[in-house]
Chain length 336, copies 2
């Protein structure tokens, strides 16, 4: 949570004037987004009494070359009725502009809150919304490879080094060294593909009650296996954040919600256990890397890689092999 | 700029439910306020379609015992037509609540931006708004001593130590050692007193065009000389932020705006040069203290004490003695 770029009121007014949204009324830097700077901006609107937007300035982690894919995807999904914010194009119809060497975009503000303890009804709604984007994105004609796949996990974890991983947890290196070859040997290839969000944590969903008001932060979106997105979302929603407690009711609701819109093929459902292990490994890799490369006193709160090592252990345990096939509702399982 | 306290969506909804403002719709941590945590909160409203508020959680720097004075002052000033946000009282009519040992208050949101390069028209409007609060607060019956007066400046600077001050600038210790006794010997006593804002920097004023939409952040408000508040506001508005450039047009406009609402008595006007030197010393003291006590790598940007040493030199220079008596508009003077 941070605002890395400083923009004065006069500069902000000039930036906003490049869009046909009325004059700037208010701009508050918001403590959201780990790697970009964001403002909640209000304007006089054009026609309506006021309008609100998120202004994002993309810092070094976001590749400007990917912005047309991400921002165009928002427009495509919104056009197809998905609950995602639209990109506001500037007066020259550009989806982003450059400001002092950095890209910035103005994106529709959607009211809602990111829950930290989701209910089953909310998980169901998120599953349905995810499936809706999978169907809608089938007609999106841009393409972006997943640069956060198995090869990247391996590269990040190699960079961490044996000693680095051991400094996080004595067993972590061994677990990873066993798991990575297993994933490489067993990763499914022939499942339905499409555009996936790839990072649909509760942080990236705005809820109003039990309804999804917005899916946001598509900055990992890419083309990959649709069922892998289901697995990522499962890992993100169905555990306590520390990974110590699995919630069967949330798991059921999420899958049920997804299948109410897009039923999984048999081979997708069968692949979910390994895809979920991969999803856990993806977040172990980035979290371990960030853990070892973030100074202790940095602005950003480090996220514990072990929270996903616990998920990995849960998904890999044969005793839990039934969770993707269905099971009794409303129970919680200790993962260790 | 920071959010020091973490509040999840579910907790936030519970907090907001303690106020009669409708259910929580959105809450964004905002990067404002150096010493408190702030959220821009939106609710469904009660009657109106939506309502917006600033939720402030007071961190250690704010004394809970002072909150009734600060929050009551907002209500009093708003009742008397001043452009300040109202305090929203909870269902038990309390102006603040306790949350996990910290006080929190819900305050009306006023749209507007804080300018960084004010125009003369804006300075005039701010002067008038300041005078308006001085008149309106005359009937406010609470009292709070100024705990940021000469004795505190001396204590803060003593704590900095000779070596500490020298590490900021080789001349700073000598300047302070000459100035503090001068201020003590010459500080006026018999000027009109009342409730002052005491920290009315551009950051603490929300503008819409040339109009003042809101005066905010009254957490230094206290009873003291009204003309001292004029001097603080003058030091805050009439220079480039680094203190290197004085803007005669802003100075004129600010004083003219103030006097359009509350004409200064002759003795107040005569006292402005020394009050302005005191205002400069007040910010030298707190900035030098914070400079030496803030770790290099802290979240908060350190503010340069020398920016106010330059103002002090400007105010103390006999060549500038005429600025509070009037002079040619539209000119800028290099302060060193």
């Amino acid at each position: 949570m941070a605002v890395y770029t400083n923009i004065g009121a006069e500069q902000m007014a000039q930036i906003i004037a490049e869009f046909d949204v009325g004059a700037l009324v208010s701009a508050k830097g918001i403590a959201e987004g780990v790697s970009n700077s964001n403002w909640l901006v209000e304007t006089e609107g054009t026609g309506s009494p006021s309008q609100r937007f998120i202004l994002t300035v993309y810092e070094s982690r976001t590749d400007i070359g990917d912005l047309p894919f991400f921002l165009g995807l928002l427009d495509h999904l919104a056009d197809h009725g998905c609950p995602v914010p639209r990109t506001i194009h500037d007066r020259d119809n550009r989806p982003f502009r450059l400001h002092e060497g950095k890209a910035l975009a103005l994106i529709e503000f959607l009211p809602g809150v990111s829950v930290s303890e989701p209910s089953a009804a909310q998980a169901r709604a998120v599953g349905a919304a995810l499936a809706q984007t999978h169907l809608a994105a089938a007609s999106y004609d841009a393409h972006r490879d997943n640069d956060m796949g198995l090869a990247t996990w391996r590269a990040l974890l190699t960079d961490c080094g044996e000693a680095g991983l051991a400094s996080i947890n004595p067993d972590l290196g061994r677990i990873i060294n066993e798991e990575l070859p297993f994933l490489a040997d067993n990763w499914p290839a022939d499942l339905p593909r499409g555009v996936i969000h790839a990072d649909l944590f509760p942080d990236n969903v705005l809820m109003r009650g039990d309804d999804v008001a917005g899916l946001i932060d598509f900055y990992f979106a890419c083309n990959d296996l649709l069922a892998y997105d289901v697995a990522v979302t499962h890992a993100a929603w169905c555990f306590s954040s520390d990974g110590r407690r699995f919630d069967t009711a949330l798991s059921h609701a999420l899958l049920e919600g997804y299948e109410s819109v897009r039923p999984l093929a048999d081979e997708e459902r069968r692949a979910l256990p390994i895809l979920a292990r991969g999803a856990a490994m993806r977040f172990i890799a980035t979290r371990a890397y960030d853990w070892l490369h973030t100074p202790d006193d940095a602005l950003v709160t480090r996220k514990d890689p072990l929270a996903f090592a616990r998920r990995l252990a849960f998904y890999a345990d044969p005793a839990n092999s039934g969770i993707f096939a269905g099971g009794p509702d409303g129970t919680q399982t200790e993962t260790e």
